[in-house]
């Protein structure tokens, strides 16, 4: 038992869940104001690409991060204009963004980065260094959890708490809830519905862009085609399982990251003397996340005005 469950497992799980938490909270900001956002996957992928490109040409992960966020915002703006001004179906716009992002990032990768590699230059970028834990490393549990983590991980774990607080206590937060639940009534009450929706969708782009930047600046340190690998959809599922609540969504994303870390470990070592089959273990994160969350979350209730 002790060999399977230890703090190293949580340490891995934190990194695995970081991009999921960021993207899920991005989805939350958008869906809370009534805009369905299945384009998270595309924004993560474009964020990952822009992050890598920015860092590759400037040598600075910070500039990479800024590029990732800007590109995330740009793609979010497309979604906002499409859904708010042109009244495009939210799902259709989201799917279009995913397809565009896959095609565009692949094309640009081959046009810009692959030729560099063919000239023998490295496409590995200067990523974020792990935070220096200093005296914190002496603190039990916390020290072990923070070892080898970048600040993006810490940010992703603090963000849900901050968002929860802001949504609950500020005027903006209350208006967000109002718009998501009844945009017509909100408008007649003088709430600037469109402005809130733009802000929500743009925030989703920024967070999804950051999720992408995590992949290229704090994990793989380089871009590869389609490297988001479905994280946008897992994040969306986490958002739904988390009942559109910042803490719930983050917990669901973490649950997935945790089971992912667990199955990776179990592939290499038996549990109670039994080596579980690979295919079962690969399915485990999906299966256990569904079961775990069905148990204590109860009925899902989306914002009533979602998609209108």
């Amino acid at each position: 038992m002790g060999e399977v469950f230890d703090l190293q497992l949580i340490n891995t799980a934190m990194r695995q869940s970081t991009p999921l938490i960021l993207a899920a909270l991005g989805g939350l900001m958008s869906e809370r104001v009534g805009v369905v956002n299945i384009g998270l996957e595309g924004k993560i992928l474009m964020g990952a690409f822009a992050g890598a490109l920015g860092a590759l040409f400037t040598g600075s992960p910070w500039i990479g991060l800024v590029c990732a966020i800007l590109v995330g915002l740009t793609f979010a703006l497309i979604h906002a204009v499409a859904t708010q001004e042109l009244r495009t179906d939210h799902i259709v716009s989201g799917v279009a963004i995913n397809l565009l992002a896959l095609g565009l990032s692949t094309y640009l990768f081959r046009q810009i980065i692959v030729p560099l590699e063919e000239q023998g230059k490295s496409s590995v970028v200067q990523g974020f260094a792990p935070i220096r834990v200093g005296w914190l490393s002496e603190v039990p549990i916390l020290g072990a959890l923070l070892t080898d983590q970048t600040w993006l991980v810490v940010f992703a774990f603090l963000l849900p708490i901050a968002l929860w607080y802001l949504l609950r206590t500020t005027r903006w937060g209350l208006r967000v809830y109002a718009v998501g639940n009844d945009s017509v009534k909100s408008r007649t009450m003088g709430v600037p519905v469109k402005r809130l929706r733009y802000l929500g969708v743009l925030l989703s782009g920024a967070f999804a862009g950051m999720a992408g930047a995590f992949l290229t600046l704090a994990s793989a340190d380089q871009f590869r085609e389609n490297m988001s690998a479905g994280r946008g959809f897992i994040a969306l599922a986490a958002l739904i399982f988390g009942r559109w609540h910042p803490i719930g969504a983050a917990l669901a994303a973490f649950a997935f990251g945790f089971f992912e870390a667990l199955q990776m470990r179990l592939q290499g070592q038996p549990l109670f003397g039994v080596q579980l089959p690979t295919d079962l273990l690969l399915m485990l994160p999906y299966l256990l996340t569904v079961i775990a969350l069905m148990g204590f979350l109860g009925r899902m209730k989306p914002p009533s005005d979602l998609g209108n």
Partner: protein, 315 residues
């Protein structure tokens, strides 16, 4: 006699940028362009639904030889090939339909994997080595069991950690799986996981001195010089080029062509950055095993059954 041919390929969903067998096949066609003056082209498949359409399109456009890259295209090729008897078809890693215009190009990946496994077994300091596969499919099992048999041959005490990422794209997950195996005691990890393997190599590089990855398909040693112990090269490019040459010379042969260690279809990379780290005695052992495979005295296993029956030679 040579004539100017037109040769094309259809990638599987990995695409031309998979840094694996699609990319390698394309290098073969590029060589056909440079050396045989062939007109070359590729079509990428985004989904499995594109296979038949892509193969048909190329055959219609009058290409002399069309390659289907990957076992995923077996069924599609069986549908398309009978309709174009004048076009030659080759399929890499898969069974070709039994037709005079089709050839199947098969690699004995287990033989090359056996050699890198033998190297890993002899070179490990921790007596734990890892394997990271992409999808858990019979093709990748050839890599896994060949590797395990190699480790068993040079280091019967060593433990092999086996993990799969479940896809080919997720670089970040490949890295985490590799870090997990490094934390479980491994000091060398062989990958056969497409782009996920880029993450495995990155993990070895980040762990630093004493940790190594083993690359696959292409010579990946340069991706992290000094941290990629060797690469198990699978010369899809040679196979594709050979078929183009045969077509150009008018001596196409149908059936199955197998590329193993003997045919130089699989084998170790030249180890440009790591050769001096490995003692000559170890390399001599690897060369000896290579000889034994060529002579047919060692037959590396390719699935669980053959692995269980495998008796390692004494070297």
């Amino acid at each position: 006699m040579q004539r100017r041919i037109r040769a094309a390929m259809v990638t599987d969903v990995g695409g031309i940028g998979d840094e694996s067998f699609n990319a390698s096949a394309w290098r073969g066609l590029e060589r056909a362009r440079d050396q045989l003056g062939a007109e070359v082209r590729y079509l990428e498949s985004r989904t499995a639904a594109d296979y038949v359409r892509n193969l048909t399109a190329l055959a219609r456009q009058g290409f002399n030889v069309v390659f289907a890259i990957g076992f995923l295209m077996e069924d599609s090729l069986a549908k398309v090939a009978p309709r174009f008897p004048k076009v030659y078809f080759g399929i890499v890693d898969g069974r070709a339909p039994n037709l005079p215009n089709c050839v199947s190009l098969i690699f004995n990946e287990q033989e090359g994997s056996y050699l890198v496994g033998a190297l890993a077994g002899a070179f490990t300091k921790t007596n734990v080595v890892g394997f990271v596969g992409g999808m858990n499919v019979p093709l990748i099992k050839k890599f896994e069991y060949g590797y395990r048999a190699g480790v068993l041959t040079t280091n019967p005490k060593a433990k092999v950690l086996v993990g799969y990422t479940g896809n080919w794209d997720d670089v970040s997950k490949g890295r985490e799986l590799a870090l997990t195996q490094f934390n479980q005691g491994a000091d060398i990890i062989y990958h056969a996981a497409g782009r996920c393997g880029i993450g495995v190599i990155r993990a070895a590089q980040q762990k630093g001195k004493g940790y190594y990855a083993i690359g696959v398909d292409s010579d990946q040693d340069h991706l992290a010089p000094g941290h990629v112990l060797t690469s198990m090269m699978k010369r899809v490019d040679n196979a594709v080029f050979d078929v183009c040459k045969r077509v150009a010379e008018g001596r196409f042969k149908s059936g199955t062509i197998v590329y193993g260690v003997k045919e130089k279809g699989v084998g170790l990379s030249p180890m440009r950055f790591t050769r001096k780290l490995v003692r000559d005695a170890i390399m001599a052992k690897i060369n000896k095993l290579e000889q034994l495979i060529v002579q047919g005295k060692v037959v590396p296993p390719y699935n669980e059954q053959t692995f269980r029956a495998f008796r390692p030679p004494k070297v």
